[in-house]
């Protein structure tokens, strides 16, 4: 064997005697082209969905989950394949990713996640890798197709508009909010990180028709059980009565008041109290299909007419809780910590219900609270304001 | 009395002044000046005609203070009023306040003292958190300088007294005179000035 290599080296290290210079160059060049073509073809093969689902770990877990989502099937017929989202497009990063796949090969060979149970147990860790990557490249793969500049905010639902405009302003990473858009979320995580998941943790399940519950955060409302047409938004810590449970959808009734100046879109918890319970789209607010109108009274303090309405709309089955106590505890601790950085936070009962929104808005620029938490804390302050407090102040 | 003994005496006196200007006298220390060694020392110092008046002032102050219920506290208040406050009304015991243009602390005199200490391999007791141009530190150092067995010591003493001490001592002492209280520390400071002046004369003689 050593002889063969020696001999080989002997020949390879000497100028060629029989083969022409031109032949060697052209021959080497052609061989290079053929190799490179072959290499890239092979690389592309590994970059196909077919290749990805070649392993049952992918095929039986994430792939079937993808098929439930809009990234699989939608009305415009564009679909995302595995590598569209999961393989970096930059060459170096792509090669690095391919090498990283050695871990996946390892896992397949040794069966690290060869059962659904094993996969679920490991999902959190695996997902976290991808989320880190998305957060580092600012969700570049998403933005290859969806970019903020091309979004027409006007045709979004109002709730989406608010959120998307805010995100666009900061060129926020998509996956910050849209985790779980293509595959299921890890079990221990309801719908995201930070306060949102904290709020979701407060939600209970198994709602019974006829009982009253409170929303743990802001929730979209829909006109019917198909949940395709948005009807408005439910605010955090808002009381609803569940009328019906239809699979993923629940029908809720809101017993609220609204001002009749404008379109009457904003719902308030009580007469002449600006405690926001959510809002309705113009169409729903103007339509009689979704509400029973009650008495109308003039609020003496503003001169505005208020109308009592019972609104019946649909929401996703979830994110409700039986009592506001845990929500209030969370809101109070948030208020005490966040709002005392600059000065002593005013006592809850220092202001009345309708003064709090103004005072609270004035402080908001100095604290880092997301929209759901803001809404919840404000409602907490209003519900514990001097209007509701027995303590003389 | 040989040279050594003499230097010991001089050094001890500088250290005595340094002690008085370092911090307030507690009850026990003050007692020495009502009866005991302090009285003896003052009486002895008073025999020098130049010092007579200053010593008389100190003694008078002691008499005044003795009549007060808590003499050591009263004297502590005097001390604070003079040294622990500020240039405008008291007499802060730092050369920088009197010698620098800015009137700030930690100015050139402070750095000069630090340089001296650096050369000599000395440092200020970390518990005494004061700038190096504090009067007590200067006096303490001078005592050390006197006790140093070094043939150049005499010249070093003269230089130090002339450049570091007398450059501001009289301004400082007159600042103490502006303050009106028992007069104990004003007397001590006056005595210090006279002593330093006399000591310098002796060194130059």
């Amino acid at each position: 064997m050593i002889q063969i290599i020696k001999r080989f080296w002997h020949i390879a290290s000497k100028p060629s005697v029989h083969l022409s210079f031109g032949f060697l160059t052209i021959g080497g060049f052609l061989a290079g082209i053929i190799f490179w073509g072959g290499f890239n073809t092979a690389l592309e093969v590994t970059n196909t969905e077919k290749f990805c689902i070649g392993c049952h770990e992918m095929a039986d877990n994430v792939y079937v989950e993808l098929q439930e989502t809009v990234h699989w099937q939608n009305r415009s017929g564009v679909r995302a394949t595995c590598p569209d989202c999961h393989v970096p497009h930059n060459w170096s990063d792509k090669i690095a990713r391919k090498m990283q796949a050695s871990k996946e090969v390892w896992a397949t060979v040794f069966g690290t996640v060869n059962t659904r149970e094993k996969f679920l147990a490991k999902r959190g860790e695996l997902a976290q890798h991808e989320w880190d990557r998305f957060s580092a490249n600012n969700s570049m793969e998403c933005k290859n197709c969806h970019n903020y500049e091309s979004m027409d905010f006007e045709i979004m639902s109002e709730r989406a508009q608010v959120q998307m405009k805010m995100a666009a302003e900061r060129d926020q990473s998509c996956v910050d909010c849209h985790k779980g858009i293509a595959h299921n979320l890890p079990d221990n995580m309801n719908s995201g990180e930070g306060t949102l998941s904290k709020l979701e943790e407060m939600a209970t399940s198994g709602y019974k028709a006829g009982n009253s519950y409170y929303s743990v955060r802001q929730l979209p409302l829909f006109t019917d059980e198909t949940m395709t047409t948005e009807a408005g938004q439910l605010n955090a810590a808002t009381k609803v009565t569940v009328l019906a449970v239809e699979g993923d959808a629940i029908q809720v009734e809101l017993d609220v008041w609204r001002k009749t100046k404008g379109f009457g879109r904003v719902m308030f918890e009580d007469f002449a109290m600006n405690i926001n319970d959510g809002y309705l789209t113009k169409e729903v607010a103007q339509s009689d299909d979704y509400m029973n109108k009650g008495e109308t009274k003039i609020d003496d303090l503003t001169g505005l007419p208020w109308q009592k309405v019972e609104v019946k709309l649909w929401a996703r089955n979830g994110s409700l809780t039986e009592s506001r106590d845990t929500l209030w505890t969370f809101a109070k601790s948030t208020y005490d910590t966040s709002c005392s950085v600059c000065h002593t936070q005013p006592a809850e009962n220092h202001f009345d219900t309708n003064t709090w929104p103004g005072m609270f808005n004035g402080m908001l620029s100095f604290v880092n609270l997301d929209g759901d938490t803001q809404a919840l804390v404000l409602k907490y302050l209003q519900k514990h304001s001097s209007d509701f407090s027995d303590e003389a102040h | 009395m040989d040279e050594n003994e003499l230097n010991e005496q001089r050094a001890s006196l500088y250290w005595w002044f340094a002690t008085l200007l370092t911090k307030e006298l507690d009850k026990e220390k003050l007692a020495h000046y009502f009866s005991g060694e302090g009285v003896a020392l003052l009486t002895q110092l008073g025999t020098e005609p130049k010092f007579e008046q200053a010593v008389a002032q100190i003694k008078a102050a002691l008499v005044t203070i003795m009549a007060i219920k808590q003499p050591s506290l009263e004297l502590a208040a005097d001390f604070s009023q003079l040294f622990l406050t500020d240039a405008k009304k008291g007499a802060p015991p730092y050369a920088s306040v009197y010698l620098s243009e800015t009137g700030q602390l930690f100015e050139k005199p402070h750095h000069e003292m630090l340089d001296i200490f650096k050369q000599q391999g000395l440092m200020i007791d970390p518990d005494f958190k004061e700038p190096a141009d504090h009067i007590a530190i200067q006096l303490d150092y001078l005592g050390n300088l006197i006790m140093k067995e070094d043939e150049n010591s005499q010249q070093a003493q003269t230089d130090f007294i002339e450049h570091q001490l007398l450059s501001w001592l009289s301004t400082f002492v007159s600042a103490t005179q502006k303050v009106n209280n028992s007069g104990f520390y004003q007397g001590i400071c006056q005595l210090l000035l006279l002593f330093v002046e006399q000591d310098l004369n002796e060194l130059n003689a």
Binding site: I11, L19, G28, I95, R133 | -
Partner: protein, 56 residues
Amino acid sequence: MSDNHNEPEVHNKASEWKTFLVLTVCLFPALSVALIGAYGFGIWFLQMFLMGPPGH
């Protein structure tokens, strides 16, 4: 120089052909793949320890 050319063994045309083919078809492609792989691993380790996940 030609004097020193006293190789008793002649490498004939066939052996040159063989060597050429071994180099172009087997060795260099294998080396390239290995090199690219090593590069890929290098980047990955850098990402793990120094740079963090790939950014923009």
